[in-house]
Amino acid sequence: MRVGFWRSAGLIALRDLRVEIRSGEALTVVFPFAVVASWVAPLATNASPLLLRDLAAPVYWLITLLFGMMVVLRQTAVETRAQRRALALTGLDPAARFAGRSGASGLVLAAVAGTLVIPVIIFYDYRPPSGAWLMALVILLAAAGLAMLGTLAGDVTIGLRARTSLAPLLMAPLAVPLLMGAAQSLESLVAGKSIITWVLVLVIADLGLAAAGVMSARALEEISL
């Protein structure tokens, strides 16, 4: 019996979320370290409140990128060849697998990024812009893009000895449009300007990554078996 694309993707996403909740790595390891990292700049520079407020958005996105990569790349790293082979033999569409993995990573990443706003408000005396739902939209779009990019980078480097260093190196430069779009959106929100241009940058980057992921899914699966 053939299982539909979205149902398959949902099953894979549920599996990944369940594994993530059980291992608790995002909550007990990645998030605390991200909080500590966000504290480093105010602690080390003893900067003025005004300077800290200016630093808040770039530091926030930098930490989200670095710790987000850990979350996303860990998910592809823990899957064994035997598990990938067994999945392929279920007749699962590799594109659905990509969608499911990215969806689960995106949700975990959005949760980590959303919660990271709290220490940034505390340590940087950051005043979040009034449009909270717009800020949430920006975080969601950025998290979705980073998740798809991480899933792709993880799949491209499967089986390589240098994978742990190569995957982040591959991911970081390609994340520039996402980081630019996200950081500039928040800057524009704070300044009371329109964010439509930067949101469009995020949407286009997400669509490009989704297309790349879906189109390369079959070829990447063949390499990984």
Binding site: A82, R85, A86, A88, L89, L225
Partner: protein, 230 residues
């Protein structure tokens, strides 16, 4: 050349396959990994209703042969078909759902319970979750359904991995050292899996270093040495 043959009893309603096409047909298939030959000009045919064992020492190329038949490994030489699809051809992914495979290491997720692992396998293949529970009970693990895979013994994991193959009805079943870590009682699961598959006009390819053990399960056993079927 077979080193052992065994006649398998067929159910009275057994009908020979309508098609003459073999389920697996490898012609002079070779595989090199990192420049080193692992398989050399292997010829292998598996007809519907047939079970074949491949015995040989460690490093003989048995698992690689299984990987080729499972369509995981692309041959570097020769040609062949699996379930009618050319190896490394465009139709290969389409026939994968008819292949059941159990490798050296169980393909279970350590953070999920045995029940959740089997439920996932059942749902992804379009079966109800109850099917996962049923096969888990069938292999004697009904009471262990709520235990996380990471806390199970190797024998329990092997049983659960074999239960995965009982969810559907794969036409081609591939088993790599299936009895490793299993007790005598659990070996009956392998026997059941092989008999069930061959009775339905499927085929089974089973590899092991133990020819005597294989001969108890399959129709015939061939030997493999240094990448060649001898």
């Amino acid at each position: 050349m077979p080193i052992h043959s065994k006649r398998v009893s067929r159910p009275p309603d057994f009908q020979p396959v309508s098609s003459d096409l073999p389920l697996v047909d490898l012609v002079d298939v070779s595989v090199s990994l990192g420049g080193a030959p692992v398989l050399s000009k292997c010829r292998l045919t598996l007809d519907p209703g047939e079970s074949l064992g491949v015995a040989g020492p460690n490093g003989a190329g048995k698992s690689t042969l299984l990987g080729v038949v499972a369509t995981f490994i692309t041959p570097t030489g020769g040609s062949g078909t699996v379930l009618g699809a050319l190896l490394a051809g465009p139709r290969t992914p389409a026939v994968r759902s008819q292949i059941g495979w159990s490798g050296h290491l169980p393909a279970l997720y350590p953070d999920l319970t045995l029940g959740e692992n089997l439920a996932l396998a059942a749902r992804l293949t379009g079966h109800p979750v109850s099917r996962g529970r049923k096969v888990l009970t069938q292999v004697g693990l009904g009471a262990a359904a709520g235990i996380r895979a990471e806390r199970c013994s190797n024998g329990m994991l092997r049983r659960a991995d074999l239960a995965r193959l009982l969810i559907g009805s794969p036409r081609l079943v591939l088993l790599d050292e299936p009895d490793a870590g299993l007790d005598q009682d659990a070996a009956a699961i392998i026997d059941h899996l092989i008999t069930r598959t061959t009775r339905r006009d499927g085929a089974v390819l089973c590899v092991s270093h133990d020819a005597a053990r294989l001969s108890g399960w399959v129709d015939r056993v061939v030997e493999m040495r240094e990448g060649r079927i001898v």
